[in-house]
Amino acid sequence: MRFSLGNFLWRILDLIIAAIFIYAGVLKALDPVQLAHDIDHYKTLPWAVGVGLAFYLPWLEIFCGLALIFRLFYRGALSILTLLVVVFLGATIAAKVRGLDITCGCFGHASQNWSFPTHLALDLGILATLAVLCYCSVARARASASPMPTS
């Protein structure tokens, strides 16, 4: 089978990203009250919107993670997760610029003592991996759409 090593690595990356988001989603889903307060610390959204997101976002992460594992709605899950990471990254940088001393709440209590560079490095790492997965997905779709060469 062609590109088997590439497919294997692609699958590994899938599983790593899925595990990260499912883990983060479960931790946050267990304590939505704390997550609502973490979102509120960013001081960008009204409290009620933050509460709504605290109940919704963890499940979105979990479902997208599961979608990556089962390759169901795969491109949709990749798009949502990429958008989420971009928003997290933007909010984290904006909070730092505004001088807010906040915890991102990304991994529940586990991430409470993470420094800003740690948050940044993790978000950028995940974003880069998502970009690779998006590229692989598009390349695979193009390859399967093009006609098979005849020999």
Partner: protein, 142 residues
């Protein structure tokens, strides 16, 4: 069956709503949609004044703001000097007394955080956050 990208996004977004709504219903008594502090943990300036001598006031603002002005009889207890100030507060607290914590305004988090620590770490019952904070107290009393 193949779905287009927007349809995949919509399906995942809609699926996530289901447990999210369920959880919001389950947690309806544990969180308020109106304010970060549940109504049962808040007290108005009028009500706190009615409690009279059974109230211990805690100023959760930074030291310089406390030094500038504070509720008469209030004790300073902020997170910057928690370990240093907590014994001073405990010296004036006694069982049966209600604790009212305030910070500068309704939007500040300091009072909520101090109140939470008093409940969790010092195991104190009857800890309330002043509705509207120092601003509200000044409006009512000056």
């Amino acid at each position: 069956m193949k779905f287009s990208l927007p349809r995949q996004v919509l399906i995942l977004a809609a699926l996530s709503l289901v447990p999210g709504v369920g959880q919001a219903i389950y947690f309806r008594d544990k969180i308020s949609w109106q304010s970060p502090i549940p109504p049962s943990e808040m007290v108005s300036a009028d009500q706190a004044r009615e409690w009279g001598d059974t109230t211990v006031w805690i100023d959760a603002r930074p030291d310089d703001e406390f030094a500038r002005d504070h509720v008469p009889g209030a004790v300073s207890l902020n997170e910057d000097r928690w370990n240093e100030l907590l014994p001073q507060f405990l010296a004036v607290w006694s069982p049966g007394k209600k604790v009212v914590v305030y910070c500068s305004a309704q939007s500040c988090d300091l009072a909520r955080e101090v109140a939470e620590r008093l409940r969790k770490e010092a195991q104190l019952p009857d800890v309330f956050v002043l509705e509207g904070g120092w601003e509200a107290w000044v409006k009512k009393n000056r």
